[in-house]
């Protein structure tokens, strides 16, 4: 027998009642109340913390029980089973297992699942989308950041021919568009737009100087183009940002920015390494040494002194590491 509070759902009046279970029937008796109901027609709330548990009847009335253990005993005597989520939440060991699982899933998701999904998705994105993004990006950059190239026509043509005459391992030649620009703000640099268009800056041509090394830098950008890295990074960052916002968002929206930035930087580094790998493959296929790219990187690093040692925070992995890798590939 168990004491409970009865509410009829029409007023806030409390009435004390006693509960009994005979077989599969629940009996409720108290001041002016006396009824039986099959246990199957009673909805029993799950046990949640130390909140009183309610047994709800079909007409909106309900009984509220404060003594949770006694109710558990009463219900189990009638073979009532609590839901599995309910039971899992309350025991220390399942909770710790869940904790370990969440940590493992988050780690695996970040390191492998998301990059893999993004690489697959990036390949499936229709060409027209990549082109739209690129056109929009170039339009935004031309003027404020990018100025027309000051390189002589002949020079531009030669570099362009060198690039388009490269032999690619899968047979064929690079079809990507090569554009020349100049940018005092970006300095000696090159980058790839989402649709594969590669932009080479005058300052890079000047700093690297050696045509073969410039070609090596172009191969690196080709790596970005073929891997659709622009789109991949966009997808990965968006998903990452959304997840963090959801995770921390209930608590504080500003807080999600810092981890998002750090985690994004790591993604960028991985893609740079992949582009280096691709460049090494293409260079070797064309009878040139991956060391050419290493030499180009060293010259670029020297030109960007001060940027080179940002280390962990940088989106360009520490140049030394990349140079070392490329020398190793060159043997």
């Amino acid at each position: 027998m168990l004491t409970a509070d009865f509410f009829d759902g029409h007023s806030t009046r409390v009435r004390k009642v006693a509960l009994r279970i005979d077989g599969q029937t629940l009996s409720v008796s108290g001041e002016n109340i006396e009824f039986q109901v099959p246990l199957g027609e009673v909805h029993v709330d799950e046990r949640l913390g130390r909140a009183p548990r309610r047994l709800r009847f079909s007409d909106g009335a309900f009984c509220e029980v404060g003594d949770l253990d006694a109710l558990d005993a009463l219900l189990s005597s009638a073979d009532h089973r609590d839901g599995w989520v309910d039971r899992t939440q309350r025991r220390a060991r399942p909770v710790l297992v869940c904790l370990a699982a969440v940590v493992a899933l988050a780690f695996a998701g970040y390191m492998w699942a998301l990059p893999w999904a993004a690489s697959v998705a990036a390949m499936k994105v229709p060409e027209v989308v990549g082109r739209q993004l690129s056109v929009a990006t170039l339009r935004a950059l031309d003027g404020p950041i990018l100025l027309p190239s000051a390189l002589p026509e002949a020079r531009q043509q030669k570099l362009s021919d060198d690039f388009h005459n490269l032999n690619l391992p899968g047979s064929g030649h690079p079809q990507e568009v090569l554009l020349f620009r100049s940018s005092p703000q970006l300095g000696a640099n090159a980058f790839t737009l989402p649709d594969g268009t590669i932009i080479i800056l005058d300052e890079l041509v000047k700093v690297v100087d050696d045509d073969q090394q410039i070609l090596a830098a172009m191969c690196h950008e080709l790596g970005h183009a073929h891997g659709r890295h622009g789109l991949r990074l966009l997808l990965q960052s968006s998903v990452l940002g959304t997840f963090l916002a959801l995770y921390v968002g209930d608590f504080s929206s500003v807080l999600a920015v810092a981890p998002a930035t750090l985690l994004h930087a790591k993604y960028s580094r991985k893609l740079e390494e992949q582009a280096d790998s691709y460049a090494a493959t293409v260079l070797r296929f064309n009878g040139m040494s991956p060391v050419l790219l290493a030499e180009a990187l060293k010259k670029l690093a020297a030109a960007h002194q001060g940027k080179a040692d940002m280390g962990y925070m940088s989106t360009h992995p520490a140049i030394d590491e990349r140079v070392r890798h490329l020398y190793a590939e060159g043997r």
């Binding site: 409390v14 913390g49 009335a61 940027k307």
Partner: protein, 364 residues
């Protein structure tokens, strides 16, 4: 099923009724178990379970909030919440796509969203209140749709064109709309705070922000000056990316600091103002959240959450709710047994139970 009640109210006809403090009986450790299991299920179902997790979360918080010997209850249907979230997601995608297209579509989509927003907000109030109850009596929201448009769309527009000078005014209007049209069973609630009181608190907040901003600017300028003079010495051409990075870092840190120091003070003052001016019938409410206490809770929560990579969050949420609810007291004007449920034929607009949850949690 139940037998007829014999008449007569219960005892307790004393002229003065004891104040009933609100208490929160939940604990972080208990809630952690619920939180982590639900998080795992949400991840594994790629987010679908989130709606069920939300219902459980609300039920945990409602059922551990106690006043006058009884706790609240939440009845929301997870499926409705899920549908609501899908619709919200569709709107978000439509908005993002249209913004990137830079065409007339952007205007159309944004305009459409702005036009249905007041209706959605009113719907979410209805859903939230109807699915909340105390001792079996449900709450109701009876605000008219037209009023929602006036309160949100019109005021929102006016606030924007006056560069947010009307923000306190709009805030008061929103709260008045919400609270004056809320019912507990057959008992209507009322809201008594005046616009001027909102302006006072917003002014205080602005002053605090300005003081803080001044400190940051002086601090920021100082560090930039030092950095530039260093750059000149090493001969590197400006602008040095390290300096820019440092400035961004300082600004970000300042933003967090402002949120943690000034935010809670504002929140405490506004919340106190709103709730001590809200009545349920003749019953009054006292709300005395300590601003400095809330600041401390915020700082400690932030610190612990960061160093545990977020795992402290369940405890943080419990601490925050508990601190605030412990500052609330209900001051009854009569017997708490006498509230009556709304009569079925009087249940305001059609289909309260079918109101979809558009899942907008407007913070106070």
């Amino acid at each position: 099923m139940t037998q007829e009640l014999s008449g007569g109210s219960s005892s307790g006809d004393s002229p003065r009724f004891a104040p009933a403090p609100v208490t929160f009986t939940g604990t972080g450790t208990e809630y952690f178990g619920i939180w982590i299991v639900n998080l795992l299920l949400t991840i594994v179902t790629l987010g679908i379970y989130a709606s069920w997790a939300k219902v459980r979360r609300l039920q945990y918080f409602y059922r551990h909030t106690e006043v006058a010997g009884s706790t609240f209850d939440f009845h929301g249907n997870p499926v409705k919440i899920f549908i609501g979230r899908l619709i919200a997601l569709a709107m978000l995608i439509a908005y993002n796509v249209s913004v990137r297209l830079h065409s007339l579509m952007t205007l159309v989509v944004v305009g459409a969203i702005a036009i249905i927003m007041p209706w959605l907000l009113r719907n979410s109030f209805r859903f939230r209140l109807y699915n909340s109850s105390w001792r079996g009596i449900r709450f109701h929201f009876r605000g008219a749709v037209g009023a929602a448009y006036r309160v949100f769309l019109l005021n929102g527009f006016l606030t924007m064109i006056t560069l947010y000078l009307l923000a306190p005014f709009m805030h008061q209007r929103v709260k008045a709309y919400q609270h004056n049209n809320s019912w507990f069973g057959q008992t209507q609630c009322s809201f008594h705070a005046r616009v001027g009181e909102f302006y006072k608190i917003y002014l205080l907040w602005l002053v605090g922000l300005l003081l803080f901003g001044t400190l940051v600017i002086f601090g920021g300028i100082g560090s930039t000056f030092v950095a530039i003079s260093h750059a000149k010495e090493s001969g590197a051409p400006p602008p040095n990316p390290m300096v820019i990075l440092k400035m961004i870092g300082v600004l970000y840190g300042a933003l967090i600091l402002a949120a943690v120091l000034i935010g809670p003070v504002f929140h405490a003052l506004i919340t106190n103002l709103i709730w001590r001016n809200t009545r349920i019938g003749e019953h009054r409410i006292e709300c005395k959240i300590s601003p400095l206490g809330l600041v401390w809770i915020g700082i400690s929560n932030l610190f612990l959450t960061v160093i545990t990579l977020g795992l402290f969050m369940p405890w943080a949420m419990i601490r925050l709710i508990k601190f605030q609810l412990n500052a609330v007291t209900l001051v009854p004007a009569s017997d708490m047994q006498e509230f009556l449920a709304a009569e079925p034929d009087k249940i305001g607009a059609v289909g309260e139970e079918t109101a979809t949850a558009f899942d907008f949690d407007i913070s106070l």
